[in-house]
Amino acid sequence: MEALLFNVSGGFLEGIVRGYKAGLLTQNQYNNLTQCETIEDFRTQLSATDYGNFLANEPLPISTSTISDKATQLLVDQFNYLRSNAVEPLSKFLEYMTYAYMIDNVILIITGTLHGRNTNELLQRCHPLGIFDTMPALCVATNVEELYHTVLVETPLAPYFRDSVTAADLDDLNIEIIRNTLYKAYLEDFDAFCQSLGGPTAEIMHRILAFEADRRAINITINSFGTQLSKEQRAKLFPTIGRLFPEGNNALARADDIEQVRQACEPVAEYRAFFDSSGPGAGRVNGGAGGGSESTANLLGDLGVSDEFGGGAADLEDRFFVHEVHLNKLAFLQQFQYAVFYSYIKLKEQEIRSLTWIAECIAQNARDRIHDFIPTF
């Protein structure tokens, strides 16, 4: 059926997104990039790719954050192009994708305000895909109730918030609970939406979202060791769409150390490999993530950017990324479905992370670790 009617409204954009995908950097180009001596070389090398002359008008010297910003801007432009050309249900699908960024932005701003950061500075750090009108007003909220009633009530995030968050003061722990509850509700809702679309979209998106859910569950578990978070509370934060659900989730809820987490993941063959030698590495997820630019916001750990990690290539988080990239690549094997849009954005994000990592290594002259990025294609 999809083959018959998909192209009526989705064919053009699928073509576009597959074209974009063809522009992702290849292994060969990554190899060339890692050989660069300076950031200028890096720029010259990138200008031969689909990035083109996106840095040509930047005065020297170029900072890594400029590269990352400009690259993200390209991604955002592409996404907005797709979005403005999309019709239902694809437009809804794309909108769902932005909710994740909105959640991150909301959390970023309230945490930042809690710690007395400047609002404008915080706004600039927000991901452009997750920006909504009333976002700046977030900074006046002092408790959860107010947060909901002043700002979030008119955002698409409101339904996630309404049911799940009880009134409480905003503190680091609560913010993290809010974040994870929102994310749980979001993932479940997104999955339900994808299931309603049916066909290959439902199938592939479920695979990707299920992994995302499990990853969050595992991260929450590992990062909550030794914090005040009770086990009941923890169990409530686990998304219920993952492959670990329900036995694995129950086991995770009861887990006290990394060994028990490993056992909980045992039934799923793919996840077993994550823990093969990551015993020592997993501890670093906890420690390393806290040192990132989002400061204490990462108490419970989140999608920390890979270059903020202290660990080596064998990191648990890195393995998650590798698996995510793998799943996203698989999405391109099937036609007539929307998962390619999701996967493309995720892959491009991964590519930008890798680029930033390489640029950072070049700038800081840490050539021995330059190969620790996660290649996409």
Binding site: Q35, N57, L123, T150
Partner: protein, 836 residues
């Protein structure tokens, strides 16, 4: 070898040359060769990353300079009043060659950096000042609007006071109390005033409402004039808002939200006098600032003017330098010997010229070590280079668009110069329309210098590029127009017609031959005759077949010079001769029959004129039997059987002989005890190159082994190729002949369309008399002229052009054109300008 006079018949003879250039003169040599535009350089370091090549540093520096120049250009462009940029031909040349070349570049670099720094600084201060100005203007607006608001409030206040309304709200009651006590208008409500982007206003209001739970009174007024951002030129529209609320906490919340929403808050005093004071102050500061801003703007403009003086030459120099260094990166750099080795293709005839340029470069740079040039022997196929001029360029481009000719192949572009406009004209035959496009083309040619410099845009530019094609198309259209005797769908009565018209009682008007023959073209008597269309149709249809067969025969003949040049003599009798016989025995015979049928006066013949189409069909379907009713000439059946047999023999001939010869050749070689060495060839090859790289250029190219793929001459491949070729040719002959009927169809459509246009417009008003008749004629005539140009000349012309193109590409080129070459792309500064 290179003494052959250059023609378009074959592509230019090329030589692979090696240049050994001392490092000191390398830059100047490349610059000189770039001016000359005769050498295509090969990449001698294909394995080296772009940023690991020798001249990356220079390129990076040039890139930085290019960025600055681009920055200047964008700044100049952004300026509202245009800044004159002195054109390149008017500016003093910047000499970047010779002993002082490097210094010039250094100076230019410094100069650009200085200009950039100055301009950025000016931009910054200008922006800063504009920002301050904007704030002041906003403050003035806020002051003015709040004043208006307060005044209105005061009026309303007095009104409420005088009207003895009991239902006045409690709050106002309090107010009144206080006002009574203080004796003048006074507010105890505190407020926040400021400006905000109009797009955000509604969100702002909504959020405030929700945060303060409705405990606020908000008023806002549009600011009429937009604010222009000096850096980007974007316009923003803003609103003044004033919010009343009660209590410090609420006010601080409002301030916080306002700030986070990007609003600017201005401290406004409640006291009217103080407001007037600050208004005066703001106005005073505004005036000062405007003066400063004006001066800064004038300075900036002056700076941009000086930049505009030199911008064109800077752009030119930077682009050239970049090209030079990119070319230098292609060369093989030998650190030890301080020389660069270049390899590339150049036309053999131009070698003396290149040598002269090299010597000139040496003299210029003031050294006495000249670059050395010598020719290399190679078995690689050289690029194809047709030396064109502005006349032939367009025609050659048409053929290159189909495919670039194989090196030294017969070039169909030469013949297209005549055949293309001719075939076009057969479809477009009309004296009037031909005249219009001739005039258009002639005008373009007359003003070609002026038009060539101007930027014409893509569509007009395309027409301008093809101006000589259009000119010839126009001439030929006039010629065929005379043949068809068609001028804007009317006919010319130049000579005495061969027909008289007499009233006949039974048949109406009947034409009777009066013994004359119309000397040239179609007799005008046919125009308007009842069977005129029948006649022109039959005439044009047959003519298209005749022209088509001639064109195809010619195309087949063009194989012969190719076979001779490439020493494939066997191909003459394995390919050319059978193809020729096949084509002539069926379609050549048809042409002869057509002409023969024309020569017979059928009104006096005993039989009815036979249908040639049926004749051709029955010739193939029922050979040997001809219906005596439709016999064209005696002995027809015998002739046809012989011709059919000839064509039948040609098919297996074409199919078998070439593979057989190939097979025989192979057997002969095997019989002598040789075996093909395809795989073992490669390693020996690389050894050679390595060795000879050391020995340095004793006649072998450096990158020879890298990319010469040896085609496997497999026997089965030859067979398959020949089978396809045979089938294609035999079927092609039939379908291509039919395809030439488009000449008739298009010509018919053109004639009919122009007739319809005439009948629908001018023919209606031509009979009217008096003033109305003249006005109507003028109006309708104008309409007719516009439609004639738009529909008949442009649209129909494009369609005829397209069909002529197809006839050349498909019907003619498939008979002989291999088109397996690659274009010669020399390093040339002239091309660089073209690209921009």
């Amino acid at each position: 070898m290179g003494d052959e006079y250059p023609t378009l018949f074959r592509s230019e003879q090329m030589s692979l040359v090696q240049l050994i250039v001392p490092t000191e003169v390398a830059h100047d040599t490349i610059a000189e060769l770039g001016e000359l535009g005769n050498v295509q350089f090969k990449d001698l370091n294909p394995d080296v990353n772009p940023f690991q090549r020798s001249f990356v540093g220079e390129i990076r520096r040039i890139d930085e300079m290019a960025r600055r120049v681009r920055f200047f250009a964008s700044q100049v462009e952004k300026e509202k009043e245009p800044i004159p940029i002195r054109p390149l031909y008017d500016s003093a040349p910047l000499l970047t060659v010779g002993p002082r070349g490097a210094q010039t570049i250094d100076e230019l670099d410094v100069k650009l950096a200085e200009h950039e720094a100055r301009l950025t600084q000016m931009n910054e201060s200008y922006q800063l000042l504009s920002e301050r100005l904007r704030e002041l203007v906003e403050a003035r607006h806020v002051l003015r609007e709040t004043a208006v608001f307060f005044e209105q409030a005061a009026v309303r206040e007095t009104e409420t006071r005088t009207s003895l309304d009991d239902s006045a709200p409690l709050l106002q009651h309090d107010d009144r109390e206080q006002q009574f006590s203080s004796g003048e208008l006074q507010f105890d409500l505190e407020f926040v005033a400021g400006t905000i982007d109009r797009a955000r206003l509604s969100t702002f209001e909504r959020v405030l409402w929700r945060v303060l739970r409705g405990n606020l009174y908000m008023n806002y007024i549009d600011i009429q004039e937009p604010f222009v951002d000096p850096a980007t030129g974007a316009e923003t529209r803003k609103n003044v808002f004033i919010i009343f609320a009660h209590g410090d906490i609420l006010l601080s919340k409002i301030r916080k939200i306002a700030e986070s929403m990007g609003a600017t808050i201005y401290p406004i005093d409640v006291n009217a006098d103080k407001r007037a004071d600050s208004m005066r102050e703001v106005t005073g500061r505004l005036e000062d600032l405007q003066i400063v801003l004006y001066n800064t703007g004038a300075n900036r403009r002056a700076e941009l003017m000086t930049i505009g003086e030199n911008l064109a030459s800077w752009q030119d120099v930077v682009a050239k330098e970049k090209l030079i260094y990119e070319t230098l990166n292609l060369l093989n750099y030998d650190v030890r010997r301080k020389t660069l080795i270049a390899e590339g293709w150049c036309p053999t005839r131009d070698i003396p010229q290149i040598q002269l340029a090299l010597r000139h470069a040496t003299e210029e740079s003031g050294t006495n070590v000249p670059p050395i040039l010598h020719e290399l022997r190679t078995n690689r196929t050289p690029p194809t280079f047709h030396r064109t001029n502005k006349f032939t360029e367009g025609f050659q481009t048409i053929m290159d668009a189909y495919g670039v000719a194989t090196y030294q192949e017969v070039n169909p572009g030469l013949f297209a110069v005549i055949t293309f406009p001719f075939l076009f004209a057969v479809m477009f035959g009309d004296i009037g329309h031909g005249f219009i496009i001739t005039i258009a083309a002639a005008l373009m040619i007359l003003f070609e210098r002026k038009l060539g410099k101007a930027d014409l845009g893509e569509i007009i530019g395309t027409f301008f590029f093809g101006r000589y094609i259009i000119l010839l198309m126009g001439f030929f259209s006039i010629y065929t127009g005379f043949l068809y005797n068609d001028i804007f769908s009317k006919s010319l009565h130049l000579f005495h017609s061969g027909w008289d018209f007499r009233e006949d009682y039974f048949n109406g008007t009947v034409g009777v031959s009066n013994g004359h023959t119309y000397p040239f073209g179609l007799d005008p008597a046919w125009h308007g005759a009842e069977n005129g269309l029948l006649f022109t149709n039959s005439y044009k249809m047959k003519m298209s077949i005749v022209l088509g067969v001639i064109h195809m025969t010619f195309a087949v003949c063009l194989q012969v010079p190719n076979h001779i040049r490439f020493r494939r003599f066997s191909d003459i009798y394995t390919n050319f001769i059978p193809q020729m016989i096949f084509l002539q025995s069926i379609f050549g015979y048809l042409v002869i029959c057509i002409i023969y049928k024309w020569t017979i006066d059928w009104s006096k013949a005993p039989t009815q004129p036979p249908s040639l189409l049926n004749m051709l069909i029955s010739m193939v379907l029922s050979p040997g039997s001809v219906d005596p009713e439709s016999q064209l000439y005696p002995g027809q059946s015998t002739v046809q059987v012989i011709l059919l047999l000839l064509a039948g023999i040609c098919v297996p001939w074409l199919l078998v002989t070439k593979p057989y010869l190939e097979w025989q050749e192979m057997k002969k070689i095997q019989g002598q005890g040789y075996i093909g060495l395809g795989a073992d060839d490669a390693p020996r090859h690389t050894d050679d190159t390595m060795l000879e790289g050391e020995e340095e250029g004793n006649g072998r190219a450096i990158v020879e082994a890298n990319d010469e793929e040896h085609e496997q001459h497999d026997f089965s491949e030859v067979v398959v190729h020949q089978v396809i070729h045979t089938i294609e040719f035999c079927l092609g002959c039939v379908s291509h002949t039919a395809s030439y009927l488009r000449l008739w169809a298009l010509s018919l459509a053109h004639a009919q369309l122009s007739e319809v246009l005439w009948d629908m417009t001018i023919a209606n008003v031509l009979g009217m008399s008096g003033l109305i008749g003249i006005i109507a004629l003028l109006l309708v005539g104008a309409m007719w002229l516009v439609l004639t140009i738009a529909i008949l000349c442009v649209m129909e012309g494009l369609s005829a052009f397209l069909h002529a193109l197809r006839l050349h590409w498909v019907e003619a080129n498939s008979k002989h054109y291999e088109a397996g070459g690659y274009q010669f792309v020399p390093l040339s500064f002239a091309r660089l300008n073209e690209k921009q």
